[in-house]
Assembly symmetry: C2
Homo-oligomer: 113 residues x 2
Amino acid sequence: MNIKHYTDIPEEAVTKANSIKTTIRWLITKEDGSTRYATRRFEIQPGGEIGIHYHSEEHHIYILEGKCHLIDGNGKKILIRKGDVIYIPSNEKHGYINESSERVAFLCIIPYL
Amino acid sequence: MNIKHYTDIPEEAVTKANSIKTTIRWLITKEDGSTRYATRRFEIQPGGEIGIHYHSEEHHIYILEGKCHLIDGNGKKILIRKGDVIYIPSNEKHGYINESSERVAFLCIIPYL
């Protein structure tokens, strides 16, 4: 078994999908020996966002702290907050915007396709 | 997309592996349309435990709150706490015991094999 604290893992700026003030940590990946799916931790600072995008990887999301809006393919904003669990199917459009005064942090698990 | 709060999902007692004072919520599963892996949330109350066991499903674990001891195949206790990330490979023995005064909660993602 392999134990780390999330802060031990490098924090990288997210540049895809016109992201602003957003970082990612790849917590568990193929490099750990996990070949089926990867667990990542995102943080979006106040005023930050990930633009609407889509891809073939489905998402399992769990909100760890804070709140933000999830944006669906029609541009509709849905408030999501700590303790929320979100499933985004393959190829469904989605984005995030943090209009709150605190960072939002969430886990996002994706398959290796 | 499908959005729920974790408390909306039924909490079930864990009975496998000689578990004590432990519950599980199956947050995202095949029933949501996710066929590759499932995301579950465990809670172990003070004095609770999950006995040492093993299985072919690997684990991605993220500690959401509290602390407990992870027990490896040699019976060694390792303290794990909020923000820790743990990878347990397929067929590696592991257990958990909460000797603290507060509940520990963690996510555990397993593949559908």
